[in-house]
């Protein structure tokens, strides 16, 4: 079936596949830049680009709801929050001290071990099946909304409590500690 599928669609197939590989390359490239950039502001800007490539991945999978949510929540809210915090914290006075080379090498070895394990496990799988979208409206808002509000109504409501408690906790943590008259900190 996959071979038939591949043979049936000619040029369009190839162009969309190369789109995936190009976007995947961009994702990896920008995420490497995120962790290697010296300036944290640049690092956040590269992270925005990485998340944009992730949005394109979602669109390629026709997961339209996730693409929009990724765009709005991650690029719109979370990364603006990061930038805002970074502006709040004055980082201009001195750049971060670098870790020693030994720690860096150890970090690369630790991350690389995970990658090698996964790649070796994938080799053991052999030829992999092709990701085919059989139901075109799988990731549309209508379909996901039906599942969300039928089967996952309770987790959905619980997540609202989670967001509320996170908001209260963030406000509580970020407010300045007031000094009590007897000198103790009022946390």
């Amino acid at each position: 079936m996959p071979q038939l599928f591949l043979r049936g669609k000619g040029i369009l197939q190839i162009s969309t596949m190369s789109t995936f590989y190009f976007i995947a390359f961009l994702s990896i490239f920008f995420s490497i830049l995120v962790i290697t950039a010296k300036n944290p502001v640049h690092s956040i800007l590269y992270l925005i680009l990485t998340f944009f490539t992730f949005t394109i991945h979602y669109i390629l999978m026709n997961a339209q709801f996730l693409a929009i949510v990724n765009f709005i929540v991650y690029m719109g809210a979370i990364l603006v929050l990061f930038l805002y915090t970074l502006m709040l914290i004055n980082l201009n006075k001195d750049s971060e001290p670098r870790k020693s080379n030994l720690v860096k090498i150890a970090g690369f070895v630790g991350g690389g071990c995970f990658l090698i394990t996964v790649v070796a496990a994938l080799k053991a799988f052999g030829a992999s099946p092709v990701v085919v979208l059989n139901n075109p409206n799988l990731g549309l808002v209508k379909n996901l909304g039906k599942i969300l509000f039928n089967e996952y109504l309770l987790p959905f409501e619980v997540s609202s409590i989670l967001l509320l408690s996170a908001m209260v906790g963030a406000v509580l943590l970020a407010t300045k500690d007031k000094k009590l008259p007897d000198g103790n900190l009022n946390a």
């Binding site: 969309t16 995947a24 860096k104 997540s159 908001m167």
Partner: protein
């Protein structure tokens, strides 16, 4: 629309797993080699997002929309986590005038 979505997906599942594990390990390396708390936090976000992408890919592969619902929940969780985490970073900065994580080794012993 229909023809477009049918044409799009012909990528082997292995390549999705490979892409996501590469980005996940980049996140792990970022956590290990950086000392700036905000950059470490961003590496954690990178790991969360790679797992999200893999969940969506498996959801499309199985034809089951539950995976995408889970991605939605993970995104809600990430939003809460970022709010609390950044509040903690601001508090640490106010107390120590630095966001270098090496000043936070008091809990080590």
């Amino acid at each position: 629309m229909g023809t477009l979505t049918h044409n799009i997906q012909a990528i082997p599942l292995n390549h999705y797993i490979l892409l996501c594990s590469i980005i996940f390990s980049i996140g792990v390396i970022g956590v290990l080699i950086r000392r700036n708390a905000i950059v470490i936090f961003m590496s954690v976000e990178l790991m969360l997002n790679s797992v999200n992408l893999l969940l969506a890919a498996f959801s499309v592969y199985r034809g089951d929309a539950t995976g995408q619902v889970f991605v939605f929940f993970i995104m809600a969780l990430a939003a809460a986590e970022v709010a609390v985490g950044l509040a903690i970073i601001v508090m640490i900065y106010r107390n120590t005038n630095s966001i270098d994580i090496n000043v936070l080794n008091r809990l080590k012993w």
